[in-house]
Every structure is written in structure tokens, then in C-alpha cells.
């Protein structure tokens, strides 16, 4: 019995506790990201944003959540019920699943797997299924068109994202996320690989279907795109999934390019053991910075036309990232900086 307790039950309990410790703050972050988005957009447009529920409107996300929870879930009569209900669940759980490999500090990670970056890439490329399944099962033209757009868009931008990731891997010499961050001790990759950083950020916008690439939603032509038929909690899951994958992609950007949990300068209170105290703070700060850029872009850039979107992905980003990949490899080999 003691053997069973030591061998199976205890690890399971510890792992579940770790998962809860990651997911609960994440859900709070998602809720307050919706609030932050409304506030940032409001400031950009010289409005006040939510300011009625609670002090500074801080309870607004909770009020919104409660409202959506108590509404009725309507399933269209021509819809394919199982797929229709599976789609939002898939979207939401995928955006949570990826956090298993995100390191918050050296050793502070749920699963420190050797191929962490591939895992993140795999999970982010699965996000398209939630959208395609939703669009198809709704049995509605608008939803279907949104889903088709999204499938083409996400597959296109994944290609250049893959090349950017390979460039970072060449510099870091490992697929392990912790090792990638540790490899940035001398310099954050955002500096030597600045063009790739920009390409990656724009591809991430397309991958998460955020503006200016939010054609799958395209409310001016497609009503609300792929989730036009969704209501109440099934809609909320899509909504939360979108914000969850935004936070995830920001975390990925900060790990690949902004040095993850590393402090920006090697000064007194941030060195030695104290560095571990600050690790979470720096990581959160970087994620928040990238997230702010997401919102900033939404407030300022108009939506792309579909052919422009495809042109940018295939004719600009793909050749450019391929060129930079070859250039980086060449520089690393000739200067002998290639990691062993």
C-alpha cells in the first residue's frame, strides 16, 4: 500500500497541484486581458472603457463571465451536434494544454521535455481545428467561409513561423525551452535576430487570428465569422481560448526572443539567488509587453484584404525568413559560433 502511495498516488497529487497552480493564475490573466484590451482600446480612442462595475471597472470581466454562464446555449437545428460542441472545448483546452512546457524560471516548469519548442509549435498548429470544426458544424455560410479563411491563413503563416523557430534553434542549439532561455544569457535573440523577431510577431498575430489578420471573424462581411452561431458558454470558450492563445504566444515570443525570465540587466538586486525571486516578475513583464503590442496593433492597424494577407505570408515572409535562416546558418558556421 505504501508502495502504491509512493509510486503512483503522490506523483499524481503533486502533478495535479502543479497544474492547478498554473491554470488558476492563467484563467485570471485571461479574464483581465479582456479588461486590459477594452481599457487600452478605450484610451487609444479617447474613451474611458469599462468603469462602472467595481472600482475602475475591475469587476467587469467577472460580470461578463457570470452573464455568459447564465445564458442559454442555442444549438442551430441543422448543426452537427457533437462536432458543434466539441469545437469550443477543443479550442479552449488547446490554449491551456501548451502551458505544460512553459518554463517560468530555471527548473520551474511542469514538464521539462527535450522537444519543448516542437510541442508548442504542434499545439499552436492544432488551434485551426477548433475553428474549422466550428465553421463546418454550424451549417451556416458565414461560419463556413470564416473557417475556410482561417484554415488557409493559419497554415500559411505556420510555415514562416517554423523557419523563424529553426533560426532560433540554430543559435541556441537545443529544442528545450529552458536551454533556449539559458542560451540568451549573453544577448537576447531579439537583438541579433531583429528581423526574425518582427516576422515572428506578425506571424503570431496571424496565427491567433488577431487584427489586422482577423479575417476569420471579419464582422463587416461575415457577421462574426466562424463563431456566428455560438452563444452563451460555448461562445465564451472561443473567446477565452483566443485570449489564452494570445497569452501563450506572448510567452513563446518572450522565451524565444526576449530572454524568458532573465533580467534585462545584470545589476545588484537581480543577480545570484535573488534572480530566482525576480524571475516570475521579469517573465510576466515581458509577456505583458508583448500583449500590449497585440492590443496596440488592434487599435491602430486596419484589417488586411484577403489577397494581401496571402501575399504577405507566401511572397514576403516565406522567402525572407528562408533567406535569414540560410544567412544565420552561414554566419554561425563561418564564425564558429555554432553551439556544440
Amino acid at each position: 500500500m505504501a508502495d502504491f502511495w509512493q509510486g503512483y498516488a503522490l506523483p499524481v497529487v503533486i502533478t495535479v497541484a502543479e497544474i492547478v497552480a498554473i491554470i488558476v493564475p492563467l484563467l485570471v490573466a485571461i479574464a483581465y486581458l479582456t479588461y486590459a484590451e477594452r481599457k487600452v482600446l478605450a484610451w487609444a480612442q479617447l474613451r474611458k472603457g469599462p468603469n462602472v462595475v467595481g472600482p475602475f471597472g475591475l469587476l467587469q470581466p467577472i460580470a461578463d463571465g457570470a452573464k455568459l454562464l447564465f445564458k442559454e446555449t442555442v444549438i442551430p437545428s441543422g448543426a452537427n451536434r457533437v462536432v458543434f460542441l466539441a469545437a469550443p472545448i477543443l479550442t479552449f483546452s488547446l490554449s491551456l494544454m501548451a502551458w505544460a512546457v512553459i518554463p517560468f524560471d530555471k527548473g520551474v516548469v511542469l514538464a521539462n521535455i527535450n522537444v519543448g519548442i516542437l510541442y508548442l509549435f504542434a499545439i499552436s498548429s492544432l488551434g485551426v481545428y477548433g475553428i474549422v470544426m466550428a465553421g463546418w458544424s454550424s451549417n451556416s455560410k458565414y461560419a463556413f467561409l470564416g473557417a475556410l479563411r482561417s484554415a488557409a491563413q493559419m497554415v500559411s503563416y505556420e510555415v514562416s513561423m517554423g523557419f523563424v523557430i529553426v533560426t532560433v534553434l540554430l543559435c541556441a542549439g537545443s529544442l528545450n525551452l529552458t536551454a533556449i532561455v539559458e542560451a540568451q544569457r549573453t544577448i537576447w535573440y531579439a537583438i541579433p535576430l531583429l528581423p526574425m523577431f518582427v516576422v515572428f510577431f506578425i506571424s503570431v498575430l496571424a496565427e491567433t487570428n488577431r487584427s489586422p489578420f482577423d479575417l476569420p471573424e471579419g464582422e463587416s462581411e461575415l457577421v462574426a465569422g466562424f463563431f456566428v452561431e455560438y452563444s452563451a458558454m460555448s461562445f465564451a470558450l472561443f473567446y477565452l481560448g483566443e485570449y489564452g492563445s494570445m497569452i501563450l504566444m506572448s510567452a513563446m515570443t518572450s522565451i524565444l526572443f526576449l530572454g524568458g525570465w532573465l533580467a534585462p540587466f545584470n545589476l545588484e538586486p537581480f543577480t545570484g539567488l535573488a534572480a530566482h525571486l525576480w524571475a516570475g516578475f521579469w517573465f510576466a513583464l515581458k509577456v505583458a509587453l508583448v500583449l500590449f503590442c497585440f492590443l496596440w496593433v488592434r487599435a491602430t492597424v486596419p484589417r488586411f484584404r484577403y489577397d494581401q494577407l496571402m501575399r504577405l505570408g507566401w511572397k514576403v515572409f516565406l522567402p525572407f525568413s528562408l533567406f535569414w535562416l540560410v544567412l544565420t546558418a552561414g554566419v554561425l558556421v563561418t564564425t564558429g559560433w555554432l553551439p556544440k
Binding site: Y8, L126, Y129, A151, E158
Partner: protein, 204 residues
Amino acid sequence: MIVQAICFYLFAAITVASGVMVIAARNPVHSVLFLILAFFNAAGLFVLAGAEFLALILVIVYVGAVAVLFLFVVMMLDINFVELRQGALQYLPVGALVGLVLLVELILVFGAWVAGPEVAQSIAAPLPLATNVTNTAALGQLLYTRYVYVFQASGMILLVAMVGAIVLTLRARTDVRKQDINVQVGRRRADTLEIVKVRPRQGV
């Protein structure tokens, strides 16, 4: 150990069941979704075998790209699948033949393993011992040294296939107006604008 066995049988059972559902499902979109489930569980089996790189590549390439395009096409097709199913029986002999060949080959392979112990020795030992390096590095070392010609050749074949598909479908249309961004950006005021002084009662 027992957890591993349970996981193996779970993944294997789901893979086989969803494989059956791929051909049994009435709705083609459901078929593709079951195919994706099968891929996913096969990736799980790879992880159990310690091949984490292959598992994730399977998910990225097959689930993340190939199956998406598959689903994309199947959703757009407007075919009466019930009608299509009527003639399916005539393909039965061909299907049975392919299945038979596969079965015989599998029997030969496994039979050789069981019958002749010397066969197992002829299988090359993994070159960099799997315990020393991560399996990404092991695969890379093998692919880019020992099998580099085969590897490059398969890349070339895929490239030729891709170029072929593009050549077959590309048609230069002259009746559509295309946006040429260079021309648009390169436009100067002098090329398009002319300021005319219009005198009253005379017009231009």
C-alpha cells in the same frame, strides 16, 4: 510499468478503433476527424516508445498541416457520397489484394524474427547509442551522414512533385486586374497629377 502498459493498450485500441471508423463513418468529414484522432494516438504510441521527436513531427506535419488541407478539401467537395458508395464493391478485389500483400509481408517479417534468431542481429544497431544523445540529435546524425543521399533524393522528389502540381494548375489569366504593389508604391505625384490653372469662363 503497469501504467505504461495501460497507456499502450489505450492508445493502441483508440488508434485501431478510429482507423476502423475512418472507413466506416458515413460522413466524410467525420472520417477525416477520426483519421486525425488516429494520428494523434499514433503520436502517443511514439512517445511511449521514447521517440518524442517523431511523435511531435507526426503531430506537426500530419495533424497540423496535411490533415488540415485534407479537411479543407473534403469540406468544400460537393459530392453525393451515398452515390459514390454504390460502386465501392467493385474495388473490393484490388483492396483485398493490397491487404493480402501487406499481410504476407508482415507475416514474413515477424515470422523471420521468431523462426531465425540470426535475423534480429542483422538489423543495424542504432548508430549513436540512444542513451547518449537526445533522439533529435541521433536522428540528425544518422540522416545527414549515412543516409544523406537518400534524404536529399527524397527532398528532390517532393520538390519535383510540388513544381509539377503548380505547373499543372497555374494558368496566366489576362482578364483580371492584379494589384502590383511596387507600381503603387513607386507612383510619384509628377506621373499622375497635373495642376491646371482654370481661368473663369474659359474652362480647361
